[in-house]
């Protein structure tokens, strides 16, 4: 059956990419796969904008007195880097692209529950991005991506309201996507697809969606209140009328801490798929990995105060948040152990997606462990607002989430485009990225430990060597990110045509042609009795 389909040349078969032509067919599409590609284009643009800010920062930090920009401009650079990367790249990345594309396919549905709402999500995202880019072009914001009051509400003269409005609007894009995923996963699974037969990627998308739905409204209203306070010069965070700036931090971090789990959980789901496929083994402890996603989603809401240990928050509250922050590391550790056990005695191959997945496991573990330094009250007092924090979250966000994102893009690229990319170049890029990443961010751990504060445009001369190493790494990392951009785009036109399942992977999305037809499946998908039914390693074929 699948060979008959594979023999039909891609040009003469109707699929979701050639089912209709013209810009209107894309801008008014309700096909989740096309919407995923709309998002892919948008977030890639935002990634390069946020990356440009990072490049400028690293160039500036080559010299202790600053090499490139004025301090006020430096403040704007790190703010825009944070705002763009967090809200416009990382949070939507995997859910809006791979999630939108794969959730209906993996459960055997024709589309998401609410396709028009899905399209609306994208337009809402674009509207929010426009406001933020407007703010960027008009001169930027310099409050840090955390918008702490009263700096943001009373003291700066930059475009806080436009940026906050942009983030507020984009928040609704996330909420609607999360809502769509939850309803789809609950109500539209194919006959026979029980919860315990779902791929682990779906479990992580479900957990992520819970966070989207319950956390994002809080930051939405908080930024709304910030905007009102700025507009009317009075508000509930204003100390002049008895307001508490720490309340802003509470409400901000109530969302923003779970947000970091929004950024990593989908990556963990992707890694589960990659590790199983490229070890030719079913996942060790499937149910543990599945439930740990839910546990992470839940416990992530209990720990936000660990961002506020030195904010004059109650020390007793600090004790509780610290203890709970140790607890939230446990489900993540369970995943790492299970992935490792999956690799054990697997038939491992090292295509590019697997290189990204392996890199994820190592780098995420390092980032996660350094999180424990920050979760401990005593050490956090010294490490708060230093480069140690920056290194910690970049290990997780870049070494973890971005690598998982790239691994997923590469893994499902043949499914999405119907073409194979050049795996040799892909492996080169993965190695360059890994090397560049570590050279950029490992020195930052040391800088932080030695006391270099974050968000400063200048630094003491003794830190220069480590800063130069970090900047050198950043340029290598930048080149590493450009390479996939080139060969992936090249493959769309000139890559070899892909069959339905070039990796020999298990999953309903691999049972349909590449690229899939608009309604995803030509015949009703048959749900296998257990997920990840890989043959024993001796009988595996690539």
């Amino acid at each position: 059956m699948s060979t008959a389909v594979a023999e039909v040349p891609v040009e003469s078969r109707i699929h979701y990419l050639n089912a209709s032509y013209g810009i209107k067919s894309w801008l008014f599409t309700t096909d989740h796969k096309r919407i995923a590609l709309l998002y892919l284009g948008s977030i890639t643009l935002m990634f390069f904008i946020g990356g440009a800010a990072a490049v400028l920062m690293r160039l500036h930090l080559i010299e202790p007195a600053g090499a490139l920009v004025q301090p006020e401009t430096y403040n704007k650079l790190f703010t825009m880097h944070g705002v763009v990367m967090v809200f416009f790249f990382l949070i939507p990345s995997i859910p809006a692209t791979l999630g939108n594309f794969l959730v209906p396919m993996m459960i055997g549905a024709r589309d998401l529950a609410f396709p028009r709402l899905n399209l609306l999500s994208w337009y809402v995202y674009i509207t929010g991005a426009t406001f933020t880019l407007y703010a960027l072009i008009s001169g930027g914001v310099d409050t840090g991506w955390t918008f702490y009051t009263p700096l943001s509400s009373h003291y700066v003269n930059t475009h806080v309201i436009a940026t906050a409005l942009g983030v507020f609007i984009t928040g609704f894009s996330s909420i609607l996507t999360g809502l769509n995923f939850i309803v789809t996963i609950h109500k539209m699974r194919a006959p026979g697809m029980t919860w315990k037969r779902m791929p682990l990627f779906l479990w992580s998308m479900y957990a992520t969606s819970i966070i989207f739905v319950l956390g994002t409204p809080v930051i939405a209203v908080t930024l709304f209140l910030l905007g009102l306070e700025r507009l009317f010069h009075v508000g509930i965070f204003d100390p002049a009328i008895g307001g508490d700036p720490v309340l802003f931090q509470h409400l901000f971090w109530f969302y923003s801490h779970p947000a970091v789990y929004i950024m990593i959980l989908p990556g963990m789901g992707v890694v589960s798929e990659l590790i199983t496929c490229f070890s030719r083994k079913k996942p060790f402890g499937y149910i543990f990995i599945a439930y740990s996603s839910l546990a992470i989603a839940m416990i992530s809401f209990f720990v936000w105060g660990h961002h506020m240990f030195v904010s004059s928050q109650s020390v007793y509250a600090g004790f509780i948040f610290s203890a709970l922050s140790f607890a939230v590391a446990i489900p993540s550790a369970i995943k790492v152990f299970n992935w490792t056990a999956t690799l054990y005695k697997g038939s491992i191959s090292y295509q590019a997606p697997m290189l990204y997945a392996l890199g994820f496991i190592g780098l995420f573990t390092m980032g996660g462990l350094t999180g424990l330094f920050l979760a401990s009250l005593a050490t956090d007092v010294h490490l708060h607002d230093t480069y140690f924090v920056i290194a910690h979250f970049h290990y997780i966000m870049v070494g973890g989430a971005v690598m998982a994102y790239l691994g997923g893009i590469h893994f499902w690229w043949p499914k999405i485009t119907g073409r194979l990319y050049h795996d040799g170049w892909a492996r080169v890029a993965a190695v360059v990225i890994f090397f560049g990443f570590n050279l950029t961010f490992f020195p930052q751990y040391m800088l932080g430990y030695l006391g270099m504060p974050r968000r400063y445009a200048v630094y003491p001369a003794e830190f220069q060597v480590l800063n130069v190493m970090s900047s050198a790494g950043a340029s290598i990392l930048g080149i590493g990110y450009l390479i996939p951009f080139i060969y992936l785009l090249w493959s769309i036109r000139y890559g070899p045509v892909a069959g339905p399942n070039p990796w020999g992977a298990k999953g309903l999305e691999w049972e349909t042609p590449s690229p899939p037809p608009t309604d995803n499946f030509e015949e009703s998908p048959v749900v296998p009795d257990e997920p990840y039914g890989y043959a024993k390693p001796e009988h595996a074929h690539v």
Binding site: V5, D111, V183, P217, H233, G242
Partner: protein, 235 residues
């Protein structure tokens, strides 16, 4: 072999979808579509619980910290106004529930009547709220724009705390009013659909979803009324 299987599958799909034109293509049957829509609206309401909840949280915190100021500010609001608005909204919830009932029973005239009644009550509510805002403006109790309270307005409480209370009054009722306006718009759309005959007993879940939204906004007011208008009592 695959081609013929593909063709028969497609024909089957068209046939099913041809029979019930209201069924969207991603769903298997109208019941799944209804369940999904209902479930989706409840999840949206959960997001709204957290949305309003953040301001309620802030309110609770400051009320405990600055109780005399909140009490003074609250006594500056007219409880009779608040009570009238509460009765209006409760009535609108009743008419909304009756609208959904009418939609489910396929009674088009009744549906239109109750939808208009709900919208009218909503507009009355907004009119009362606007009047109240105007009163507050005249009493110079609008923070940021016009906050110069007369000494009697403060009732012995610190001015900053009363100003903080008034911030909450305007933000919370303003956000609520915004949701009411959206709700009235939503009901207008439902009325148009009903007029066009697109609401039927098999296909009424949009009215039901609008109803859920409307009732939720009413529940927010059910809490706003005592928390804003009745702090400290009126004795």
């Amino acid at each position: 072999m695959s081609e013929s299987a593909v063709n028969s599958g497609r024909l089957e799909a068209t046939a099913t979808h041809g029979v019930t034109p209201a069924l969207h293509h991603q769903f298997e049957d109208i019941e799944q579509q209804r369940e999904a829509g209902n479930f989706g609206m409840w999840i949206f309401l959960a997001t709204e619980m957290l949305f309003f909840g953040a301001i309620f949280t802030a309110y609770i915190m400051y009320r405990v910290m600055y109780y005399p100021g909140f009490e003074a500010g609250s006594r500056g609001l007219e409880a009779s106004f608040g009570a009238t608005m509460t009765f209006v909204l409760l009535a609108s919830s009743f008419t909304m529930a009756m609208s959904v009932h009418a939609a489910h029973a396929g009674k088009r005239r009744m549906l239109l009547g109750f939808l208009f009644a709900t919208m009218l009550l909503g507009i009355i509510f907004l009119g009362l709220k606007f009047t109240e805002y105007t009163h507050k403006w005249h009493e110079q109790l609008v923070p940021g724009l016009n906050f110069h309270p007369a000494a009697e307005s403060l009732r012995g409480a610190p001015e900053h705390a009363v100003e903080l209370f008034m911030c909450f009054y305007f933000f919370m009722t303003g956000l609520h009013a915004l949701h009411m306006i959206i709700g009235i718009g939503l009901l207008g759309v439902m009325a148009i659909l009903a007029w066009q005959g697109k609401i039927s007993p098999e296909n009424y879940n949009r009215v039901e979803a609008a109803g859920l939204y409307w009732h939720f906004v009413d529940i927010i007011w059910i809490y706003l009324f005592p928390l804003l208008y009745l702090v400290g009592g009126r004795y």
